[in-house]
């Protein structure tokens, strides 16, 4: 993950770097890989060409929306489970900072549906989440500090993560002194924009036994949709997430109390609250009161976003969260280790939500 920008960097170079590192980490050769699933990389065929891999039975591009990260990993597992591939490399490459990626604004009317919003100055996913959080706050009156706890917790974990982009301390005062972007959301509620890449290689449990690292298993996965063209959803994804929780926990043979850490998608801090409620860690409307520094910190009841999340580690659109689940369960995260972690949850609340339970 990179803090700076470099016009020589592109997502193919970044993706190749991550792929090579993942092969080395696993003790695999590229000839062992028969599936390729890319995200945020424009052309899957170009990626395969850059890597010099031609014999693939699985080859997909999952696009650039962060909700697809868990979906990509789930798809890799499904393909192996169905016998369509043996070893699938999921590669995420993002040169957003270097190319000056913007998430909002633009010229003209926009798409056939955006034209009903931009004339009023409405734009950006952050504004959609701001609308949801404003309504949530009207219904449930969370404490004023609710989002601040999430932003500060992310920063506290990033401080112990050498790969993180933002590591300097963040206090409650810093949080409230920072400017509004889409009020009620402030600067530290927003994810970063930075370059980076992540590669995760998925294979069967049987094959993993012979590889270099102790395996971490995808114990269960589920998706749930509440899909419309606009991002704002009137139950804040609660019903979709609930359906998902009712599938994924029984499938893994565990319940919420067995989760040792949860890496929850946070393009903007409020989605963490939505994910906590929908996945059944607290009652609907209660997450704002439920989150406290003690509860969600590394030694707490439910450590959250243990590598720093999107607001402090980097914005790898879910892949940093997924990779950290694996590292935590390998017990290799040093100072920021959740001691004795056995089960980790990844969840993203979105028009297509996804949840994955990992285990040792």
């Amino acid at each position: 993950m990179y803090r700076d920008l470099d016009p020589e960097r592109n997502s193919y170079i970044l993706g190749a770097r991550a792929f090579k590192a993942a092969l080395d980490d696993a003790g695999l050769r590229k000839e062992d890989v028969d599936g390729l699933a890319v995200m945020r990389i424009p052309d899957y065929a170009r990626m395969a060409e850059v890597l010099g891999i031609r014999d693939l039975t699985i080859l997909n591009n999952f696009g650039g929306a962060g909700r697809m990260a868990g979906v990509t990993l789930t798809y890799a597992a499904m393909a192996i489970h169905a016998g369509l591939a043996t070893t699938v490399a999921c590669i995420y490459g993002n040169d957003g900072r270097s190319v000056g990626a913007r998430y909002g604004g633009g010229e003209g009317a926009g798409s056939d549906t955006a034209m009903f919003e931009v004339p009023y100055g409405m734009t950006s996913p952050g504004a959609s989440v701001a609308l949801m959080y404003q309504r949530y706050a009207h219904l449930y009156s969370p404490p004023r500090e609710a989002l601040a706890h999430l932003a500060i917790n992310n920063r506290d974990n990033a401080a112990l993560n050498p790969s993180a982009v933002m590591r300097s301390p963040l206090t409650m005062e810093d949080y409230f002194d920072a400017r509004f972007i889409s009020e009620p959301l402030r600067l530290y509620d927003y994810c970063l924009i930075n370059d980076g890449s992540v590669c995760m290689i998925v294979t069967s449990a049987e094959r993993a036994r012979d590889l270099k690292q102790p395996p971490v298993y995808i114990s269960a996965a589920a998706n749930a949709g509440d899909v419309a063209d606009q991002y704002t959803v009137d139950d804040f994804f609660y019903n979709g997430l609930r359906r998902m929780a009712d599938e994924v926990f029984p499938a893994a043979g565990i319940s919420q109390k067995d989760i040792d850490l949860a890496n929850l998608y946070d393009n903007f801090t409020p989605t963490i609250l939505f994910e906590l409620e929908g996945m059944g860690f607290c009652e609907q409307g209660e997450a704002g009161s439920w989150v406290s520094a003690e509860r969600i910190g590394r030694g707490g009841e439910l450590p959250l976003n243990t590598s720093g999340g999107h607001t402090s580690e980097s914005y790898m659109q879910g892949w940093g969260h997924l990779a950290d689940c694996v590292r935590q369960l390998r017990h290799e995260t040093g100072e920021r280790q959740v001691v004795g972690a056995e089960h980790a949850l990844y969840c993203c609340a979105a028009p297509l939500s996804n949840a994955i339970i990992f285990r040792r």
Partner: protein, 148 residues
């Protein structure tokens, strides 16, 4: 109601007419808020960007009907970020997500106008007003009304 003094060019993003949305923009020019209503099942949808009823899938069998123009603010925000140069001297400006009374869940993005600070709140009743921003385009905006 114009928001620009005479002679100042309008620089904010403007929509684009196409085959499906033209009746909506034409209605607004006549100071009417209209949306497509399916003749087969009665469903009203927004945005008016498709000829297919998203409830019963009937294609191309709908009329643009005039709405009551009344609703409530489902949610709101104040935009402090300069995403659009043309909004720069209004920062922060409000955006509202209005639920129209014509159907539960029928919501549209707009701006609140002619209001006091306490009106910018969830569940505030509102009614549509028509902003003739240019000779060619009229945008629906909303102003607070007393609860009925």
């Amino acid at each position: 109601m114009a928001t620009e003094p005479t002679g100042t060019p309008y620089r904010k993003p403007l929509p684009r007419r196409n085959k499906f949305n033209t009746p909506y923009w034409d209605g607004l020019s006549e100071h009417k808020l209209t949306l497509p209503k399916c003749n087969a099942c009665g469903f009203i949808w927004h945005p008016p960007a498709s000829p297919t009823c998203p409830s019963c899938l009937t294609e191309g069998d709908y009329e643009f009907v005039e709405l009551s123009g009344r609703g409530r603010i489902w949610s709101w925000l104040k935009m402090h970020q300069r995403y659009f140069a043309a909004f720069a001297d209004e920062l922060p400006y409000n955006v509202v997500y209005v639920e129209l009374e014509d159907r539960p869940g029928l919501r549209m993005i707009s701006n609140l106008v002619d209001f006091s600070d306490e009106d910018l709140r969830c569940d505030q009743p509102v009614e549509v007003v028509f902003d003739d921003v240019t000779d060619e385009w009229t945008l629906p905006k909303f102003r607070p009304v007393a609860a009925s």
